[in-house]
Symmetry: C2
Subunit: 430 residues, 2 copies
């Protein structure tokens, strides 16, 4: 399958992908829904207005002239598939409707470098899992010692916790180093900025259609509820985390920022890359048993660039398929007690680490809690993130001559607020 729009073989956005995003332009600043194709964005709101989707979406239910994908997501899988087929046809090299109509092409196709991208989804609730066995084992060893590394529950259920939905932000937003309580050995806790700022390489699925409260989603239906996937960087402050996290889990160590990539890749585009996940031993309980291959072969990379570096350096090479607990298992578990999922909910995987040292998905693991710094150049090494560092994650599925990619999620570290100034501000207000 090919598009009349030229797409480079290493582009993330060929006609096989067609991810959804929300964008605006300098001429028209209302955010609206578009699809990425090569180096262009296709404006679905104008196509909808012109009646291109009228067999799929009734005019009174228009979903594309909106500032988020939520309206489209609520329509359900039949509509998602219908829209995707229609867009794929409109963009294909054999279809003259857009190809041969320069006038309409000018109205609906925008060079990607000229558009402004927005957070694509209004996040309802955000859940973060802990689905990588290698990550959970490594973190457990560092935080609790070798004997208590993997908790006894870990191999029986996909451990997860609720994150902060309001902290989910768009790729490119800068990350201010947080202040918080830090506990150093043999000292009372102090108030200062984190010295152990970290990234976490994750992916997330976005729920399209949810379930009613009290009605669990059977595992074999679980993927049908997913609209698409994004890259996720779950920024973390490890010194804040290790002091605060017991017994109720991470809180301020995580809720200052979680970045997601702007393009939501539909599940249909990932289908050719479905693979079997790791063998699960012990065998999961029946409500978590799945009959089809449950993972996807998505290559993942993390790049770091300091202020001094002209080009970023790759510091991690991982793969979504390393995850022990699948997306379907996460959804089936999440709802088994009656919890309702809703359109726009984000379910992230937790850090995706593999068994190789360079496949570890965060600095906590890569530097073994700062004990083994990684080298960035002859002049620079890193234990933790420093001000001005830029972290970029990317990921794609490699097809035969094309890539189904996720673009990137990126963010630069800004210096913390001055702790003294924050306290002074308090006194001024009294």
């Amino acid at each position: 399958m090919k598009s009349f729009i030229k797409v480079a073989p290493d582009s993330h956005f060929p006609i096989q992908n067609l991810p959804y995003g929300v964008f605006s332009t300098s001429n028209e600043d209302n955010p609206r829904v578009g699809v990425a194709i090569g180096d262009y964005v296709l404006d679905l709101s104008i196509l909808e207005e012109k009646g291109f989707f009228k067999e799929i979406i009734a005019r009174e239910n228009a979903v594309f002239n909106k500032s988020s994908l939520n309206s489209l997501m609520q329509l359900g899988r039949d509509s998602w598939v219908g829209v995707r087929k229609k867009v794929q046809k409109l963009l294909s090299e054999d279809e003259p409707q857009l190809r041969d109509d320069e006038e309409i092409r000018k109205q609906v196709l925008f060079p990607m470098k000229e558009v402004i991208l927005h957070l694509p989804v209004e996040i309802g609730d955000y859940t973060d899992f802990y689905a990588s066995k290698e990550h959970a084992t490594n973190v457990g060893m560092m935080f609790r010692g070798k004997e208590n590394a993997l908790m006894p529950n870990w191999t029986y259920l996909p451990v997860g916790y609720h994150g902060r939905a309001s902290s989910v932000i768009l790729s490119g937003t800068s990350i201010r180093r947080p202040l918080g309580q830090i506990k150093l050995p043999n000292h009372s806790p102090i108030f200062r900025s984190t010295r152990q700022l970290d990234f976490e390489l994750e992916m997330g699925c976005l729920i399209g259609v949810g379930n009613k409260r009290g009605e669990p989603i059977p595992i074999e239906e679980a993927e049908q509820h997913v609209f698409g996937m994004v890259l996720v960087n779950d920024w973390s402050a490890r010194d804040i985390q290790s002091w605060e996290y017991q017994p109720l889990g991470p809180f301020l160590a995580k809720n200052f920022a979680t970045s997601i990539s702007p393009w939501v890749v539909p599940m249909e585009a990932l289908e050719p890359f479905r693979v079997t996940g790791p063998i699960q031993d012990p065998k999961p309980l029946e409500y978590l048993e799945q009959s089809i291959p449950s993972s996807f072969n998505i290559q993942l990379e993390v790049y770091l660039r300091s202020k001094k570096m002209s080009a970023p350096k790759r510091i991690c090479l991982s793969n979504y398929r390393y995850l022990y607990w699948s997306m379907a298992q996460q959804i089936a578990h999440h709802t088994i007690g009656g919890c309702d999922l809703n359109p726009g909910d984000l379910l992230a995987t937790g850090t995706i680490s593999g068994s190789e040292k360079d496949s570890r998905g965060c600095l906590l693991e890569l530097t073994w809690r700062g004990k083994e710094p990684i080298s960035l150049s002859e002049q620079e090494q890193r234990e933790w993130l420093e001000d001005g560092d830029e972290v970029t994650m990317t990921g794609w599925c490699q097809g035969d001559g094309y890539r189904v990619g996720f673009g990137e999620v990126t963010g630069v570290i800004e210096p913390a607020l001055d702790a003294e100034h924050v306290l002074q501000r308090k006194h001024q207000r009294i």
Copy 2:
């Protein structure tokens, strides 16, 4: 201060209270904002339409003909105070405008027993704290033993975690007993319904105006961001919790349901009941230090009624003032790392227990994990909640001849789904 509407001395809703809620009537089913006064609901949407609030809220910003309080909450404290003063004046015994106009009274006053109440707020994010020292100590002793009861961080920071916003439901909604993974000693985990279903007596504050991401709220400003308070029952499944909760905190044990009371009591109504909280030792870090009394004297009660009982029995008598960490400290801590709060966010306190045995705010503590059942009648006792049990929480501040009350939050336990049926359903769909 008195209203022309007769209000009994033990009513929760005198003119000194005036809590906000969302209601509809059989004649007009659009949910809209009202205020409780005695046994009546005052319809603010009609008063707004008639121009009664035009000096406070511009007509184009109308906030009362809405299905949630969020629009009002976003206006900020000056508007909240302005509306409250206006409503207080309109309802006072000296003010003829409503008192002497039977026609308008018929349009705007509805007997409370005839209205349908709705969830008053669109919850953005939901955070649950763990602010009672007695509760944290008791739970810690049962889950981790006497030595590790109170974690070392507990006296330095208000421990909290993110809850599930979509699980927040209105008082009166029935609670289905959840299914989940249960781990019995010397057995592999099994899939069945919880046998340790519990309530948690909590209160919650609702954020009116939030803060920008990256800009902490100084503690002395914190209460200014709070629109009002409600009663909260954080239903919990203790057997699911004890198996799943390490290391990331409670998840399915809590996210099946959290009930809140329908009337939001404004902070202004609580001001006369401000009291000093417990002495804090060690002294909190500066960003958590507060110069004014930081608690409120709110008497709290829990009642339980089984299917066999004709009247409920009081099983807990507690008080908001027992909480170690104040609302202002919770807000200052929540935002100190840059986390943004937003209109509609719910911050719950965690279980409110005191030092007396009957002041413990959940069955886990009251029955000491089922070892010391409580007696309901000569025929019945309880270790945990059983199907058909109705749990009702209530709370009020006692003034001189009046009460500022929260009404109640109530819920009945429904039987679990049949676990076998849930698994069969899975197979039917394959």
